[in-house]
Amino acid sequence: MAAVATETPFHVLAVDDSLPDRKLIERLLKTSSFQVTTVDSGSKALEFLRIHHDSSTPISLQEDQLIYNQEVAVNLIITDYCMPGMTGYDLLKKIKESSSLRDIPVVIMSSENIPSRINRCLEEGADEFFLKPVRLSDMSKLKPHILKSRCKEHYNQQSDGNIDESSSNPTNSSSSSSDNSSSSRKRKAEGDAEILPKANRSRHS
């Protein structure tokens, strides 16, 4: 993988309407060296993302790095599925419909092990599905998704079309950020399996 390493911790936005669960996920993430913002609803999540991400053009672009406004740029969203009002699935859809947000990896959590629900989320572009209660060992599954999406962004930014080893998925080669077809989202979900064959895309207990 290309060196998009940065010393600033990755920033995760965690969405859950349950207060004890929010506290737990926050602790799990912090223990795993993530910077964390928690919100209690999908609409607050979108609000946060719009304020802090819509204008997230890189402020510095060098050969091996993309430097964003690191304090607030969200690198991954992890959301509960069952929430009043906007469900985690609704939030996922809205994120994937947004050209500025759709490349942020999304993880769905649920205490219910319902295969049709899991599949629906993965088809809509969720990168991972965690069965609650989420554990510390689940946290190690997050970073690969973040790194993969950053490599992809890095590759998309390279206008001279240099193919670096990070983007081994050929379906990415022609995708520009303005082209937002549902097929590219599905490819992304399938692409996960190709790039990281060991990754657990869903956890059935």
């Binding site: 207060l19 669960d21 205490s111």
Partner: protein, 151 residues
């Protein structure tokens, strides 16, 4: 003050909570998230849990009265409570929540009512027991949590 004795008592109290099925392994996961920077994390989460679950129980109580036979609604509320129980390892309470949901699925009002009483009882008992446990830990001092290898 014999702190090591208090710690032993706390450990023994915890063991019995596990043996009697009040708690399951998830509780250990929660305690394991504690460290010097967050020494009271488990107690904080559990406190939040009881606050939140009291509210959810009250919601269910109201729903049982205001929306007779609205099994979908009852089930939806209980699903929230069950999820919370699961997050902190409240095993017996979680089982009662699941029973309630089964009764909802069967459309069994009486079953739901009886089961709900059990949920409330388990909630009360667990709260008492965990309050006693954490109090003991607090008395045992800042290193009250049992030492864990290599963490």
């Amino acid at each position: 003050m014999d702190y090591s004795n208090l710690r032993r008592q706390a450990a023994s109290m915890k063991k019995s909570l596990f043996d009697q099925g009040y708690l399951d392994e998830q509780f250990c996961q929660v305690e394991d998230l504690q460290d010097e920077a967050s020494p009271n994390f488990a107690e904080e989460v559990i406190t939040l849990f009881f606050k939140d679950s009291a509210r959810l129980i009250s919601n269910i109580e109201q729903a049982l009265e205001k929306y007779p036979k609205d099994f979908n609604k009852w089930d939806a509320y209980m699903q929230q409570l069950k999820g919370s129980c699961s997050s902190i390892g409240a095993s017996r309470m979680k089982s009662e929540c699941m029973s309630f949901r089964e009764f909802c699925g069967q459309g069994n009002v009486e079953g739901c009512m009886k089961s709900f009483q059990k949920v409330k009882r388990e909630h009360g008992v667990l709260r008492q027991k965990l309050e006693a446990y954490f109090q003991l830990l607090r008395q045992a001092g800042p290193a009250g949590a049992a030492t864990r290898p290599g963490m």
